[in-house]
Symmetry: C2
Subunit: 305 residues, 2 copies
């Protein structure tokens, strides 16, 4: 703890978030980098509203800290982090649409389709998704072509059929056919776990780490991804809406099965403790340089909002 | 003309279409290539409905014929063609949504949100878009990493803010602030031209062509892309709905300015003739091997549906 009461982890999280937001604000301005083409101003405003929303930027933090573990605290890590946040943000913009979760608020602000309109929200989401791949593939992301390509392959898998959108689809299907425990775990590993796993593996790719390290970081990502979802399910049961900045109790109201509803609060807390231990164990060979990633695991498992 | 009354161009277009559809059907089956992971069946069905809809597959044809011009009539060309069709199809699935064009029919079949539901259509579109990048980046697309990366960069640009989605956004904005002639041309070059231009440039990249050839193919793509849009605007005025398999007269009903509404039918036909001549001139140095691409220019400019 520092004098202000913030931990080094919290300060670093805020610094990383500020760096990613500065880059995204610049990249998504009304003028392109060359300044030659003026962009559709309303589309750009909708994209910025969707992505520059004061999120914690946990996924970017994981990309940058994982890359730093292998000595790559650089522009490439920042750009990949920004691309990942574009993917995460697009999924929220589309998730909030009336045909999906039908949410009016996100972090206390009107959602994109409420501030603009549905068509703008659909297009802004599509554009953020597309832009993520443009951002990584561009040669300004100073990485070897093979590394940029590996990142694109892994990101597309994590965000697509076998990952996020596949998990979202399973989630919709779960409203009619309730999944068993294995089904819930698989659904959550896809829906929220895949992008978090990607974030950590991406750092290893950016840092040109070996296969073993890459696998270890991916496994760490899987552990904290599951912890993230368990903590989320727990908060849905225990937190109040004002702290979350969004509606709570929605899972139960929707009759949605979660591991918390299956096993209860105490079991979930023990699972979370086990996942923190597992994450720490996976990072043990990196010593003190992995301290903030260990903090991140605890932060994710114990978060209150 | 052959005995059956089909030209070599028409036969080749059908053959290319069949090859792309076979590949897409295989890639988008309920089981992944490894067969290990069973995919969300309803999502896969929605994706297949969106992409396997009996389209002419003009963009895939352009990719494959342009690649063949440089001796690359191979699996890589077919996979990039399939990826491009995923992008084109996702844009139609999202375009048809109630918040966008609100169309019930596409090629005489119910649109994805009519056959499934809106949430499924949003997710299927997102998944097709994401899958396009997975498809190109995968090492099964047997191209050097630098070539795969160049394709991804160009595709993301053509499909995103500075291309298709940017053009769609300008189109929405045009409903309130009418664009002038320059604005209409720019909007159309982005909205429909960019992907067609990409198709032709992609062939040159796949064929490992030099900078000069790559530029020439991209210019050819721009010319036929503009011709495509002019022919479309003309059909909206002159064709009947049964032949088009979709509603006609929508531009006029929406008060939408097109070059046809500005300059009339005769001017548009002269423009189309000029664009065919320009496309042929750009291909003149390739001799007889570019015959089908020249046919494609005429087909696009003179199409009746």
């Amino acid at each position: 703890m520092t004098d202000q009461g913030f931990s080094l982890f919290e300060i670093t999280l805020q610094q990383r978030a500020a760096a990613v937001e500065a880059l995204l604000g610049e990249l998504l301005s009304d003028r392109s980098r060359t300044g030659e083409i003026s962009r559709p101003p309303r589309l750009m405003a909708a994209m910025r509203h969707g992505v520059l929303n004061g999120g914690k930027r946990l996924r970017p933090f994981l990309v940058m800290e994982s890359a730093a573990l292998f000595g790559a605290d650089n522009l490439a890590a920042l750009r990949v982090a920004a691309a990942l946040e574009c993917i995460h943000s697009y999924s929220l913009v589309h998730d909030d649409l009336p045909a999906m979760d039908d949410d009016d608020l996100r972090r206390g602000q009107p959602t994109v389709h409420r501030k603009f309109d549905e068509a703008a929200a659909i297009l802004a989401g599509d554009s953020l998704l597309t832009y993520a791949f443009e951002l990584i593939s561009d040669e300004a992301t100073e990485l070897a072509p093979s590394a940029r390509l590996a990142l694109i392959t892994q990101l597309a898998r994590a965000a697509g059929i076998g990952g996020m959108t596949g998990g979202q689809a399973l989630d919709l299907e779960a409203e009619t056919v309730k999944p068993d425990e294995e089904g819930i775990i698989r659904l959550q590993a896809m829906k929220t776990g895949a992008l978090i796993r990607f974030a950590c593996e991406a750092g290893a790719i950016i840092g040109n780490a070996g296969e073993k390290d890459r696998e270890r970081l991916a496994e760490y990502g899987s552990a904290i991804g599951l912890a993230f979802q368990l903590a989320d399910d727990l908060l849905d049961v225990t937190a109040d809406a004002s702290r979350m900045g969004k509606a709570t109790g929605k899972d139960a109201a929707a009759g949605k099965a979660t591991l918390v509803s299956l096993h209860g609060i105490d079991w979930t807390k023990r699972q979370l403790a086990g996942l923190i231990a597992q994450a720490e164990e996976l990072l043990s060979s990196y010593g003190a340089s992995a301290a903030l990633l260990k903090d991140a695991a605890r932060f994710i498992a114990e978060r209150r909002s």
